[in-house]
């Protein structure tokens, strides 16, 4: 008897929590909320770090908590807590109601939760299928060993992290959803050094919902890639600054579109008034060779999801079609405040963040050219084979480091160059993407923004930008 009483008064993962969730939502609606959303999570994460020939860090972590969001009109109040008891959740609802200063008597109707949509059924076994720490450690050590036989490599690191997130989402529109999300990522980093010369190289791989993926990772190829990259750049000269045409490589080259344009197509940017594309729907904002997509459905891709953090299945959104702006990336608050329909893009790092409109797998669609066509079309320019990180300022200027770059002279790749930075603004650069290759590939990454760090995929084929500012020495 005591046991059943306790269960009915707190969230229990793997059990039916419908009665308790309905009671909490009724409570919020009864106090005058227009909308109540409850997001509850239970996480089981671990990470492993191999340095040189040793495992130097194994870090498991567990977390559980709830994020409760209340809307009144277009305002929202968000409260997060680690307390998953009925008392704790109701206290959070009360706090959110109080924050919003809800005093009117107008009451929304809550008809109870819909039938449970359980996306986790086939995923409960994942925790037993992911590689053990022992298995991960062995493979990471083999990976760093591949990089051992060269005395110019002074630092070798392999890292793995796994995130298993079990979520329950319930809201006053009847949404009642459960899901389990699995993300695994593995990376290799090296630093090479010879006298005064230094270079670094890195590669990262990632997947979602594929417990076996780490076992299939071709660590020898990854090690060869990262080694080759660092060696190519070790004696590179600094690039001369200036305006020039560039070719951006496929895969992670897509980070520029993600940062410089993708964020400006999120409804949070419309809400803030910080996107130059706010009133450009169905207008040309890019070269006609550019079609860009954001979706959450590619199987195994790092940004894919069965259901977003607001309980909506992700859709495939064509953002730009042949240079014409077609759609914005929207979440519940975005729809409420800007009128753009939700796209299954309400995402958050964890329970302590309210969901926001965020990208998932975002890429420029493939074109018809080969990589060689793009390079051959340039008499003097820069080939950006591997991109580092980047950022976008509050008024849309972007800045990206080129990790591995080569000069293009008379249509051929020539010497490697370091220290290059690509600088520009999305609305000026998008019309200058004049050629898209036929070799679209995706790459995993983490995107930090208003609702924390979320897993995403960036991607593109090789693309040519007719002119861009290259920062150097």
């Amino acid at each position: 008897m005591l046991s059943s009483q306790i269960k009915s008064n707190e969230i229990v993962f793997g059990s039916c929590n419908k009665d308790l969730l309905e009671e909490i939502i009724f409570y919020g609606i009864g106090l005058g909320a227009d909308f109540v959303e409850i997001f509850i999570e239970n996480t089981d994460n671990s990470s492993v770090l191999a340095e040189e020939d040793f495992i130097t860090s194994v870090s498991p972590s567990f977390g559980r908590g709830a994020g409760i969001r209340i809307f009144k009109g277009k305002k929202d109040g968000f409260v997060s807590t680690n307390d998953l008891t009925k008392h704790g959740l109701m206290r959070s609802v009360s706090q959110a109601i109080e924050m919003l200063d809800i005093t009117d008597n107008k009451k929304e109707v809550f008809n109870g939760l819909n039938q449970h949509r359980d996306y986790s059924l086939s995923k409960k076994k994942w925790i037993n299928e992911v590689p053990s720490i022992h298995e991960i450690s062995e493979k990471l050590l083999v990976s760093t060993k591949f990089l051992k036989n060269n005395n110019k490599i002074i630092t070798r690191k392999g890292s793995y992290s796994r995130s298993l997130q079990e979520v329950i989402i319930a809201s006053s529109d009847g949404t009642y959803v459960s899901d389990i999300r699995l993300h695994q990522t593995v990376g290799l980093n090296v630093i090479a050094s010879d006298a005064q010369y230094r270079s670094s190289g890195s590669r990262r791989f990632g997947s979602s919902g594929m417990p076996n993926e780490f076992r299939l990772w071709d660590n020898e190829k990854a090690a060869n890639d990262v080694f080759e990259s660092s060696m190519n750049m070790l004696y590179a000269d600094y690039v001369d600054a200036g305006q020039m045409p560039v070719v951006l490589a496929n895969k992670f080259g897509g980070v520029i579109f993600h940062e410089a344009c993708g964020h400006l197509l999120e409804t949070t940017q419309i809400e803030r008034g910080t996107t130059p594309f706010e009133n450009k729907l169905n207008e040309k904002i890019a070269h006609e060779s550019v079609t860009a997509i954001d979706e959450g459905i590619s199987e195994g891709s790092f940004g894919s999801l069965s259901v977003d953090d607001e309980g909506m299945e992700p859709e495939k959104s064509v953002l730009i079609k042949d240079g014409i702006l077609k759609k914005f990336i929207s979440d519940r608050a975005g729809e409420l405040r800007t009128g753009h329909k939700r796209t299954g893009s309400g995402r958050r790092q964890n329970y302590s963040f309210a969901a926001a409109s965020r990208m998932r797998n975002t890429y420029i669609a493939k074109g018809e050219h080969s990589k060689e066509d793009l390079i051959n079309s340039i008499s003097e320019g820069l080939y950006c084979k591997s991109m580092g990180g980047g950022s976008v300022g509050a008024t849309g200027q972007f800045n990206f480091a080129v990790e591995e770059g080569y000069l293009i002279k008379n249509g051929k790749l020539t010497s490697p160059v370091k220290g290059a930075t690509l600088i520009g603004e999305a609305k000026e650069v998008m019309p200058k993407i004049s050629m898209c290759g036929n070799d679209l590939e995706l790459a995993p990454g983490f995107c930090g923004s208003i609702s924390g760090s979320v897993n995403v995929t960036v991607g593109q084929p090789h693309i040519k930008v007719d002119s861009i500012t290259v920062g150097g020495r």
């Binding site: 567990f62 977390g63 968000f78 305006q243 803030r272």
Partner: protein, 450 residues
């Protein structure tokens, strides 16, 4: 459970699991924040957070760790068990011990206790600040990035040898980033951040004024010719650079091979003898100060550069043991313990005869670039290689005129930058990340549009 009860609970659970040696760090916080959008409340947020990081040592003296937000009896047991499992993979080549200073006395700053003002008050204050900022100039159309928050937290460190220390604290912050637009010109954005122990300590008027002045001053901009320039770094931008390359003074980074320094770099001349740099987490102006680090080591002032030469590295317990010194109070708490600086203080030493003292940002009449704020640090700094290429907000001073610079980057090498410091102004300024005077550097590359 309070922190004493948690310690007792961990001790009991560890006994049951036959774990003799353990330590933990925990934090408990209540945070409140508001954002506004043109007079309306945009998002109101509150959170109650608790997080516990536990380390255990197995019979081979190898360390395992687990982090959890479940501080129930069962959560603590589970965390101890998982940490014990993880200890099987503990690093045999670099052991970790308790800090030898974990029971030394700590200096806790006397700060008057602040109470939460509550969401409604935060909202009223921020609404008022937004209105004032928009009304301060006709070109300021919105304040797209803004926030006012207050946080109340407790931090704890304890270990199985009886060390126990905790402190409670409050902190509040206000940020206002305005956006200004004028016809046929690019929008410009700039802002200001203020910290205090409580909301009542925050100088809201100054924050509004700074955000307004900075934003408006950049409305009339021009591109700059790509070339090498004499640069004057503002205190904030120089501290940004020093923090970005703090791996030069970081023993952990040195051992990991990702620092420009090595074990023998103590005494190496980096710069003019006029340069002193300290890390001073307990400085009276550091609102974010903590009296002890993740391993329980007391925080203290440490000289990093003395008269242009590297004087000390910052350490955790394990790096200090390897370097045959003592921990400096800069450690985190992890399976592999990280090390990071607290609060940098830059000053002019007594040996300042080689400086070009005519270089003063308020009086110098020659051509130079003033770097007000550096951006995109995570993308543009390669700390292990020493290079940087960073966009900045700033001005070109030329022919007696001051012109805002349109989208440009400054690039260089940190050792070159140190060597080319030509003046350190006398007057220091307090920022959110430390204290520094204006610093002048000769011949740095700037890439502009022209």
């Amino acid at each position: 459970m309070n922190s004493r009860e948690i310690t007792t609970q961990i001790s009991k659970a560890a006994d049951l699991l036959n774990l003799k040696k353990w330590d933990y760090g925990a934090s408990f916080s209540n945070d409140y924040s508001v954002q506004v959008d043109r007079g309306e409340a945009k998002q109101l947020k509150a959170s109650q957070k608790q997080i516990l990081t536990l380390r255990v040592w197995n019979q081979s003296n190898l360390v395992g760790i687990t982090t959890t937000s479940d501080i129930s009896e069962s959560g603590i047991k589970k965390a101890l068990k998982q940490a014990n499992i993880a200890s099987d993979f503990g690093n045999k080549n670099e052991t970790t011990e308790f800090s030898p200073l974990a029971k030394d006395p700590i200096k806790v700053k006397e700060v008057k206790k602040r109470n939460p003002v509550g969401i409604k008050k935060l909202l009223t204050l921020l609404r008022g600040a937004e209105v004032k900022l928009i009304e301060s100039h006709e070109s300021i159309k919105s304040v797209p990035y803004n926030g006012l928050s207050e946080s109340f937290f407790e931090r704890v460190y304890a270990n199985s040898e009886g060390a126990f220390r905790s402190y409670t604290k409050s902190q509040a912050s206000l940020y206002l980033y305005a956006r200004a637009e004028e016809k046929n010109k690019k929008p410009r954005s700039s802002g200001s951040v203020k910290l205090g122990y409580g909301v009542e300590d925050i100088d809201i008027e100054t924050c509004i004024k700074e955000a307004s002045n900075k934003t408006i001053s950049h409305l009339n901009y021009s591109s700059i010719k790509t070339d090498k320039y004499l640069i004057c770094f503002s205190p904030e931008s120089f501290l940004t650079i020093i923090n970005a390359f703090s791996s030069m003074f970081n023993a952990r980074s040195i051992l990991d091979g990702v620092s420009l320094s090595n074990k023998n770099s103590i005494g190496e001349k980096l710069s003019t003898e006029a340069l002193n740099i300290y890390d001073d987490g307990l400085h009276e102006k550091n609102i974010s100060s903590s009296p002890f680090d993740g391993e329980g080591t007391p925080t203290k002032r440490l000289c990093l550069i003395n008269k242009g030469r590297i004087e000390n590295f910052i350490h955790s317990e394990s790096t200090a043991r390897i370097f045959k010194t003592i921990p400096t109070g800069h450690a985190g708490l992890g399976s592999k313990v990280s090390v990071s600086p607290d609060w940098i203080v830059v000053e002019k030493s007594e040996e300042n005869f080689d400086l070009k003292t005519s270089l003063d940002h308020s009086t110098y009449e020659g051509e130079f670039v003033y770097i007000e704020e550096l951006n995109a640090i995570h993308a543009g700094v390669r700390a292990s290689q020493g290079s940087f290429s960073l966009p900045f907000d700033g001005w070109l001073y030329k022919n007696g005129k001051k012109i805002s610079i349109d989208s440009a980057t400054v690039a260089g090498d940190i050792k070159y930058l140190f060597k080319n410091i030509v003046n350190i102004e006398s007057s220091q300024e307090i920022t959110t990340s430390g204290i520094s005077p204006h610093i002048w550097v000769d011949e740095l590359s700037i890439t502009g549009d022209a």
